[in-house]
Amino acid sequence: MTNSNTKVEGLRTTSRRGFLRATATAAGGLLVALYLDKHTTAQEGVKPSQIPPPPKKDYPPDAFVRVTPDNKVVIQVNRLEFGQGVHTALPLVLADELDADWSQVVSELAPAGDVYKDPLFGIQMVGGSGSIAHSFTQYRELGAKTRAMLVGAAAARWNVSPDRCRTAAGVVHGPAGQSLKYGELAADAARQPVPATVRLKEPSEFKLIGKGARRLDSRAKCDGSLKFGIDLDLPGMLVAVVARPPVWGAKVKSFDDSAARKVEGVREVFEIPVTRGGTGVAIVADRYWTAKRARDLLRVEWDDSKVERADSTRLFEQYRQLARTAGLSAAARGDAKAIERVAPADLLVAEYEFPYLSHSPMEPLNTTVRFDGDAAEVWAGSQFQTFDHMAVADVLGLKPDRVTFHTEMAGGGFGRRAVPDSHVQREAASIAKRFKGTPIKLVWPREDDVRGGYYRPMHVHRVEIGLGSDGLPHAWRHVVVGQSLLEGTPFAMMMKDGVDSSTVEGVNDTHYAVPNFSVTVHHPKVNVPVLWWRSVGHTHSAFVMETLIEELAARAKMEPLAYRRKLIRQEPETKKLLAAIDLLDEKTAAWRDRVPQGHAVGFAAHESFGTGVACAAEVSIRNGRPWIHRVTVAVDCGLAVNPLTVESQFQAGVSFGLSQLMAGGQITLKDGRVEQRNFDRYVPPYMPDAPVAVDVHIVPSAEAPTGCGEPPVPVISPAVVNALSKLTGKRYRTLPLVTV
């Protein structure tokens, strides 16, 4: 990753020759690489006027692809890998257009850099299931352009026209049977102009895309050799932990560190700013265990007199009251008063409650910073490199171009490493600032994360539905109460008329056709930091919508899938959801009506992030908990770039989705304090909670690919609960399920 960083710097600041030299040094013996600096092409004897102006959003291939003399193709991935498979999928896309030999492809995570920003979002990030959706064409073009340059080099050497050459598996073949490996052409190819436009393959020409490739990082993750951010070990490195206030925004009144300082290996104890205007006490030591032990001996008196102490019980009471009043309009169709004219017998009123949820990725939060006075280096498993990079520069008083930011492999994230205020990186930088020249690794012990906030917000939904004589909803009034995720962040500009669409997504944009439809939202301000949690608003909105739809289907005595089909608008936007439902129908037809006594099948269908998903879950009850025998998922995600990853994301993603369903899946606050500490009381799904089998079916498609990271999550909880309702006759509107 050091090499790639040199490259980005080199693009802007150094001459091509100097740059090549620097690269060779940094790469430790790598002699020639396919590097091309457009800004200095004149040095290669090409007049600037001969170079076509770069098209909009043109990415220099050399920042992304390096062909080495020994035929390795090293590809930079412009975003974090934390399980979703992008470290394999984006190189796969590039390698296909490049006609590379897949066994020679090496994937690296790119550092923070302008060139690695998401082409659509304009910042370097992972989110919104956009990794493939936004970078598919970008990586294809990079591959095709690099291929064209290699072909150009071969053609020049053979003195033939490039269009008489063809490529396959890392080799250029000439018209007279000549052949040269990519590695043999890399040096010449670097002198070829970057083509302004290239022809991309027709889907029928794909050799890798759509075929299913195993992950490139698998072996290193199975033999312990892969280094995550927390595994970083640098010469002279010290480790820090922080004692943070028990309520957000509280400050240190005084602290007694006499016992803590006596622990052998403790270097420094001092106050630092922490999130939400609070302060904390940092302990820096030679190792993690020393720092942790010293923190246990620290005595801190906190001043929480000026901060609100949130309390889940009181908040739910307030939220329930709010839900009985209209909020800000998020959708309005037809006659808003229609619901008031519905006869009581045709009226369904439902109230739902969802608690705070912690992401709790397996790898505890961490960041390493070394401050060198006029420069700094950062190592972080970051979903938001652009923000985190700027935050460190800000704390250290440096310009961002003086801060080198390495993207480290991360052990999960689910949104927790995409934090607009970069509070973890700010803490790390605040501590490192005191230790010039010494790398400081800040580690958040598990308890810090479970109690540290940045949760999926708690929500209350209140829904009133008026049914027509056809059994379909004719009037629908829906109020959602939940903290805004965007307010107070750089994304606040995305809010419209005070409405944060991430609170109501999946409701206000539902594919179900209801003539008189109104959605309003309240965004209470609460002293609990909140954050997107994998699939964001769809975690709760899909649960509400899909349990209600199945309830309405039962009331109308219609098949659940047929009822959905009847109610979904027939429009281009609903095509993918309908395709997923059709495929699910086909794939479950043989078994869904033949399950054993004591089992039931529930369904859910929901589109999120452009991907349509339908799900069936076969469930029984064991020891008061749902036991999930089988889950079938049908998905329309456009072209499935790596079907193996799509399958994997759905198989595991539905089990992740159970985080909010199973008992123990909640964060609660009492008088400002979080009541859970660790996985002993905040309990995510373990193997016995997960479905025994998940079969995934992909709708064949040649349309633009959409994401698969988040769309598995929303469907599972409603599908399981719909099955439970069939077994018990009860409705479940409060999550998690404490008892069935």
Binding site: G224, R287, R293, V654, N678, F679, M687
Partner: protein, 154 residues
């Protein structure tokens, strides 16, 4: 601080550590063997699982002072172990990992299971691996991979 003589992956290693230091942190910070992962520190997630005298053990709650002479085996030794290699191969073949952070612990637990139960049932697997948290929730494929490893070892 006290000196301890450890047997890790068949090698004798001397470390100087506070007696309360968990084996996990001795492995990670003193011996620089970071394949064993820190997940919770309270024996609730299994990411830190190693074999102590052949038994799958949560290294985050074993103080180094209590380890004695019992040999420790970690993920770093699995590629050279026939059962360990079979499990790793099965994991790769089934493309189990996502973020991968918990998988050292999953694999160490699976190896211990297959040593005493060469043909595990789903119930055996649930019982043995049921305490190993995978936050990506790759459980379906973990189960398949354990069965595949058992077949490979026949």
């Amino acid at each position: 601080m006290a000196k301890y003589q450890l047997n890790v992956n068949g090698q004798s290693r001397e470390v100087s550590a506070d007696p309360s230091t968990p084996l996990l942190w001795v492995l990670r910070e003193d011996l620089k063997m970071t394949g064993t992962k820190f997940g919770c520190g309270v024996s609730a997630c299994g990411a830190c699982t190693v074999h102590v005298a052949g038994v799958a053990t949560r290294s985050c709650v074993v103080p180094i002072a209590l380890l004695g002479e019992r040999p420790v085996v970690t993920i770093e030794a699995m590629a050279q172990d026939p059962v360990g290699r079979a499990v790793q191969d099965a994991w790769v073949e089934k493309d189990v990992v996502q973020c991968g952070y918990c998988q050292s612990g999953q694999i160490m637990t699976a190896v211990a299971l297959l040593r005493h139960t060469p043909r595990p049932t789903d119930a055996n697997i649930d019982e043995s691996l049921g305490g190993n948290l995978c936050r990506c929730a790759t459980y379906v494929r973990i189960r398949e991979a354990v069965h595949l490893a058992a077949q490979k070892l026949k």
